[in-house]
Symmetry: C2
Subunit: 354 residues, 2 copies
């Protein structure tokens, strides 16, 4: 049902991870393998999106999705931003890059990003960080685009459905990267996938995609048993050959254990799950009034994290990963998709024969 | 396999919840229905355990288990305990019960509890809050008793197995009540069931019981698909007819939503998941140096929580519940067990036919 709706073979979505992992090769190969590849375009300029989509469309005729971040309003005292900028200069000095003494201009590219995606003929768009307004949903529906959005609680899922969203990703607390939470953000409930999915399934009538802690066919089988119509995997796709994730990041995932991740606002000003490192610990000690909010903190730390990744310094990068990252493997995207499907069937059969 | 090991019909364990819910009627009826009933004896005196086991054995010949808390060492300044005691007197005044001005004697009943359980012929004993030592495991094995213990991380599970434990309960972050964490307690990773279970299954060779967020047959099916050999449910059994949980507590569960619970040390000094209320918020503001550790804080707040429960004052009780408590129903224990099995089969079949 979800497969015919999205015109894919297997009920598997590759998460639209922003910041580089979702290369055109990854997105295209995931879709070629029968799942849904997603371009993580949250931080991309309209021009970058246009180029990436052109490359993807040269590699595959299968459906793909684009993920965008809904715009966030924020307030921050200049004093706080400048103090953070100054503190971050100690990192820049260590990395040997230019210090920065002012606050960057924050331009919101959302409307232009969205226009580019529609223009390029993409037929599935997913959103994170908020409920797309009815206006946005109607606009996309008018272009026959399917709208996906992320919820981390039943209340958020209900709001997404009432705004007209076609598919809801129920993101459990296990998930790596940014939390999609948009209601009661300062007092998050961190609901685990096992508890969240059946409650969301009961509360909405549109199909639900389970996300968070799913790394293999066992997780896929579990999610479908909970009532999800499909699964979304992020971390599992980070270590595949086509992924654009940094090698340090891939290595950290492949050697990780279950207790290595933590939810932090340190890197971006918004809660996200990643591996603990020195920069996380240091910046967390400044949380509260001293930490600029998302997306400002994201922009402030951005040059440092990019340079650290380039230098292979894992103590100054953000390395997003979910709580089951230890199950990741090096393989091709196609191999991951095919293994998910095969193991899922085996897991269901084994469970039935218990 | 786990069923023949425990001599039960269905791979379902009722959690050994301490403090009253596991009445002899509940334990016996769960076992009569083909699952494993468990007496939550953590806070019971040896005499109370003896009486309860006698009642249970009059009601059923089927196997039952007893859950005990492994003894905890702790340190607390008298000043801290007395300050808490004084603060708690404001609660006692509101409830109209006697103020207390000294610190109760803490006697550790563990060895006597264990001796009572062995003496009574119980054949399955489960432990929480630590790894039972090899000495304890050997002692129980010598009496042909199966040993179960709880882990909240892969590392804990590996330690339990190396100590000789026969069955490991993998408790995900969704679970209600006390966390079984015993390693790295101050920096808990809060691993969700979906991520924890497959990683524990891969790391140990003994059977794994999934716990946390499982409320119905969908959750049971999901847990089995993840590789668990059985499931353990706590919250789902709190609202059954035979449960000894307070009516206020039952009502809170039945009317709850997914975001109503929180992990807190407020009531007992040890992390546990329960419904947010005024006492939790008030005592949490004292966490740090000012909150006595478990089991002292448990004992200090005990009279207040009991009296509040009696008076129907839900703002001064601890009401443990998991993140999927909203799925609870009023029914008999037998009906719950039978529904779990039937729905589990349906969920697996539906997932297979996706």
């Amino acid at each position: 049902m979800i497969c015919s709706m999205l015109n894919i073979k297997y009920p598997i979505l590759q998460a639209g991870m922003a910041g580089g992992p979702t290369t055109p090769e990854l997105v295209a190969e995931v879709s070629e393998a029968g799942a849904l590849g997603t371009l993580g375009a949250g931080y991309m300029t309209p021009q970058q999106i246009e180029v990436a989509l052109r490359e993807i469309h040269q590699l595959t005729q299968s459906p793909i999705a684009v993920n965008l971040f809904l715009p966030q309003t924020y307030e921050c005292h200049e004093k706080t931003s400048l103090a953070m900028q100054q503190h971050l200069n100690t990192y820049r000095v260590k990395l040997g890059i230019s210090e920065i003494h002012d606050i960057p201009n924050m331009s919101d590219l959302f409307e232009e990003q969205l226009a580019t995606v529609i223009e390029a003929g993409v037929k599935i768009v997913s959103f994170t960080f908020d409920a797309p307004t009815k206006r946005i949903v109607e606009k996309l529906h008018a272009s026959e685009i399917i709208v996906i959005a992320t919820a981390t609680s039943v209340k958020e899922a209900v709001q997404l459905e009432s705004n007209g969203v076609d598919l809801i990703v129920a993101q459990g607390a296990e998930a790596g990267g940014h939390r999609g939470t948009f209601l009661n953000v300062e007092n998050e409930s961190m609901i685990g996938t096992m508890a969240l999915v059946p409650q969301v399934v009961d509360a909405v009538s549109c199909p639900v995609v389970a996300a968070g802690g799913i790394m293999d066919g066992r997780g896929m089988a579990a999610a479908l048993a909970l009532g999800a119509s499909a699964v979304q995997l992020g971390t599992a796709f980070l270590t595949v050959k086509e992924s654009g994730a940094n090698n340090i990041h891939k290595e950290a995932i492949l050697t990780s254990t279950d207790t290595d991740t933590k939810i932090t606002k340190a890197f971006s000003g918004k809660s996200a799950r990643g591996f603990k490192n020195k920069m996380m610990v240091d910046l967390e000690s400044r949380i509260g009034d001293d930490l600029p909010p998302y997306p400002l903190q994201h922009v402030l730390t951005s040059d440092i994290r990019k340079e650290a990744a380039k230098q292979g310094n894992k103590e100054m990068m953000s390395m997003w990963a979910g709580q089951a990252s230890g199950l990741a493997q090096v393989r091709s995207a196609r191999n991951l998709v095919e293994n998910l499907v095969g193991q899922c069937d085996e897991a269901l059969q084994r469970a039935t024969l218990r």
